[in-house]
Symmetry: C2
């Protein structure tokens, strides 16, 4: 390998490294031969200098092949997964996986844990008593074949280079670099053995990429990597300025998901945005999976699976197959409630013009619903339920949100911050589109574009 | 301390950190509480974002106070030191220290080892049998008081934060950052207990800062730190496009230094630039040390100390006081010569228009005169003696340089490179000034300016 100091220097000075040079760095790092301090300097240089598309593709491929790349060709069907860059109240995976599986498209999903102010699918699933997300690869394959869907956490076998590098980026302020983010996401997704992928790239206050142009840039990088790897990849940039749906917090999000899957055609008002996004993403997955003639047809089929109960039944199948308590899902109100609840009411009449998703996400950490450090335990019951959403008319005294926590002092310390996240104005806010942009290999189109 | 990730992020995003914030980082790093990987990410962010003057001053001061700051107030006189950013054939310290001390100004000098293509005063001194550069602080003080001059290496007690950080910068491509370079240099110099400082900032092919504007930028930073610390500081930006003097290599540079100190008024032709620079720097030091009415007067006194033998006698005093063999200096030709020598001759008539100092410095490493890694041993005898300097008229067959090495294969592998470093042209090159700029707290002036 070329002297790593020389490679760091060249990246620092704006040169593009070859695949062989990147391979030397990533390989040596994964084997423990390149020290963290050289990798962190390299990553910071990447932050400032970026990467060419070729560098990004090579980097992703090297991380992908640092571990096991699943071959699911023995599982019939076109395997499709979804990835979201993370949001507040984003429980889409819990609804979408059973919907898509119920429509006949296998979903091999490897999810993450909550990070910063955003929740994680694994943490939500694990609030279901007995639910196991640490399946072996053999069990992952078996559940996928039997149920059509499986949801697990990243294993040590999948992209270990990314796992090690992500941990380093997290403590060296080198996370926010689009080629590195894109490589990290896609190395894990491409290792899942999928044939196609749908991406939900969040934008707005509660999103990792707050600015829309950065979210589009990330989405374009993700789509480019997916397509260059031979996987059909569609990205949607979606609004995360207010929480998605009404429930924020691990068990609370399971509750909202199950209620939506059970609601047939009568989606609860506050969950309309959640359902709209879920159906778009599931419809796109079903289309990519070859079980619908168009995205619109996929959306219709998704809606049908909710209406006829097939999606909800599939959720129970998943829970059962992964060792979870079906009874907990069947009787949601038998689950023990949070010890403490507090209601926050509107202090004036008007319109709810914004609900700051970032502030609510950070408040969720204060309540115990998220982690400050990787090793922190989370409180499954902590969180909040929105009673109003952006654009709703408000009367003084209306309940805006109910806050849940197991610890009273946490509840009180978070409530001031939660109250301040709601802005009531005297004029009705203009509506904000949920779908901001559509990204395919052909390029970026504003809003929801037909595929 | 604020979360270090937050501090790295803020520096990355272009913010200026407070003294307290920098203190948290430097303190934790020195105590081993901040890991190398966070410091290297921070240093790379500094590379891209730079530092404000306040940050640089605070950073320097923190490194300075990470260890012992010598108090030499019990040694009579105004203590003055010189620092050079390093060059090829730069043996100025060996001449200047005894000259200045002979003129009554105490010189407490802490020097470095050869780094990259540039030589180090310690390595040169240690070729004198018995010469010790690892004196204790007590012995340092005693020799300074007794002899008026002392030359040692950096001890673990002086600026340990810088020592640790410099080693990290060296392996993470974060050396070339002016505030970090300036802080590193000045934290060590200010710890020496000096009252004033003269700086020789090299520019040109063989210099660390090849471009003159960067050398001036570094010089200005150094002068600013020195003056803000209450030490009178003068900087000269000087030419390092060809080696200084005729001899390059550790023992060979001792030989040239002694020959110059013994030459009275008859400086050998090829050593004219070495002597001109030495006398300017020593003259400035003597003026700053209050033993001359002006720099010009200081130069005259310096010249006098060479002429009357006082400087050469002082060199012998130093050698004796630091345990070295006076006999080796008195009888230079008793020193064993390098086992192998090779003469490189001109292949055409003309004028010697350039001697690439960088190439000769790198060739010196090949010969064994310098180090590739910190732990490498150096060959005291390896090096080269220039027979011609830039601007000299050349006849085909004239000896340009004699190359010395203990190892024949090293000699041969370096000789092609050395030959290529000499450029003979048919027209006489225009003369290049040795003194490029003068920097004081009042600002930068082109060329040699009167103080």
């Amino acid at each position: 390998m070329t002297n790593p100091v020389e490679l760091i220097r060249r990246k620092r000075d704006g040169a593009a490294l070859t695949r062989e040079e990147l391979s030397g760095l990533v390989g040596a790092y994964t084997r423990g031969e390149l020290p963290d301090y050289q990798m962190s300097a390299f990553l910071m240089a990447c932050y400032f200098r970026g990467m060419t598309e070729d560098e990004m593709l090579a980097f992703t491929d090297l991380m992908l092949h640092s571990g096991t790349v699943l071959d699911l060709s023995d599982v019939p069907g076109i395997k499709v997964d979804k990835h979201s860059t993370g949001g507040v109240g984003d429980k889409v995976s819990l609804l979408l996986a059973p919907i898509v599986a119920a429509c006949g498209v296998p979903v091999p999903m490897i999810s993450g844990r909550g990070l910063g102010h955003t929740g994680g699918t694994l943490d939500k699933l694990e609030t279901i008593p007995g639910f196991r997300t640490d399946l072996s690869i053999d069990d992952f394959r078996r559940v996928l074949r039997d149920v059509g869907c499986v949801l697990i956490g990243q294993t040590g076998e999948i992209a270990p280079a990314d796992k090690k590098m992500y941990a380093l980026r997290d403590v060296t302020a080198t996370v926010e670099c689009i080629p590195l983010i894109a490589g990290s996401i896609m190395s894990k997704k491409l290792a899942e053995g999928i044939d196609a992928l749908v991406l939900d790239i969040k934008t707005g206050r509660g999103a990792f990429m707050e600015k829309t142009d950065r979210a589009i840039e990330l989405g374009s990088a993700l789509v480019s990597i997916g397509e260059r790897a031979g996987k059909r990849t569609v990205g949607y940039v979606t609004d995360m300025s207010q929480p998605l749906g009404t429930h924020v917090g691990n068990w609370l999000e399971v509750v909202e998901s199950v209620e939506c899957l059970r609601s047939g055609d009568r989606t609860p008002d506050g969950s309309a945005d959640l359902m709209e996004l879920t159906l778009l993403l599931s419809g796109t997955m079903i289309w990519l999976g070859g079980k619908a003639g168009s995205v619109e047809d996929g959306i219709d089929r998704s809606r049908g699976a909710v209406r006829n109960g097939a999606a909800c039944a599939k959720l129970l199948d998943i829970v059962r197959a992964q060792g979870g308590s079906v009874g907990a899902i069947e009787r949601l109100d038998a689950y023990p409630p949070a010890a403490h609840q507090l209601t926050i009411a509107a202090e004036s009449d008007g319109w709810l013009s914004s609900i700051d998703a970032l502030e609510l996400g950070l408040s969720g950490i204060l309540l115990g619903a998220g982690r400050k450090a990787v090793a922190d335990r989370i409180d499954p019951l902590a969180g909040m339920v929105l009673n109003k959403k952006r654009g709703d008319a408000i009367k003084k005294g209306d309940t805006l949100v109910t806050v849940h926590a197991s610890d009273r002092s946490r509840l009180e310390s978070a409530s001031t911050r939660i109250r301040a996240a709601f802005t009531v104005t005297s004029t009705k806010p203009s509506p904000q589109p949920l779908i901001v942009a559509t990204i395919t290999k052909e390029g970026v189109r504003t809003g929801l574009a037909s595929l």
